[in-house]
Symmetry: C2
Subunit: 113 residues, 2 copies
DNA sequence: CTTATATACATAATAAAATTAGGTATAAAA
DNA sequence: TTTTATACCTAATTTTATTATGTATATAAG
């Protein structure tokens, strides 16, 4: 996942959860486009990383799916379960503070930590 | 590496390079303590992740080592090579912008991207 | 009408990176 | 004398992402 330059691994799951928290319901392909757009092309989630991650989240009970056919093509919508919503908050908080810590190491002057 | 909660992978190499850029010369154990201190215990680099990463950076020609005996114990100091200094700038920039992109997804209101 | 692009899902093999779980050894403090 | 801190290290496993494919429909371009 993430970035043409191959930085930042391990945050894909949290990003997925956050997208679903913000948008209620999304399908995989839509997520890749949303992240690309939101980050001005700097983060590019590959489908090969995304789909297995989504399947794992379903397995873990954090997401549920509904499949629909739209314009003759299949779409698999994902939403957060109750447990998924709780986990989202926890993971977003953890990732946010971890990012701040790393930024503090990289740029102590610009950081607020 | 990094954080008791297992977030943020893939940034260890950049963190090492940045520490050496700031401090000129450090040994492995010192790096783990420095990061722990700088981040108020939130980032905990494990030695099992650190040492292989250091060895790889030496292999790649980005670091050199000098071994000394201090207080009867071995210390292996690492410093940046010329190429290492160049790479540090590139990697710090790349990681910084990647962190910002992710933060923008997690907290659009607080971000400046 | 046919080819290319966009949409939309997916997996298999491999590689990269970190975790878990050890191991060695000296110095200093309890 | 046992524990804690210092200081290095690796092997096996797991996790996560990459590379490389594969299927299939809709739409736009030539």
């Amino acid at each position: 996942m993430v970035n043409d330059n191959k930085v930042i691994k391990g945050s894909l799951t949290t990003i997925i959860l956050k997208l679903l928290e913000d948008n209620g319901r999304m399908y995989g392909y839509e997520m890749t486009k949303a992240v690309k757009e939101r980050t001005n092309d700097s983060i590019n989630i590959t489908e090969a990383a995304l789909y297995p991650a989504l399947h794992k989240l379903v397995e873990e009970g954090l997401l549920t799916t509904e499949t629909e056919i739209v314009n003759g093509r299949l779409r698999k919508y994902y939403s957060l379960t109750k447990e998924g919503k709780k986990e989202t908050k926890a993971k977003v908080d953890a990732l946010t503070s971890a990012l701040e810590s790393i930024q503090f190491i990289l740029n102590p002057k610009l950081s607020n930590g």
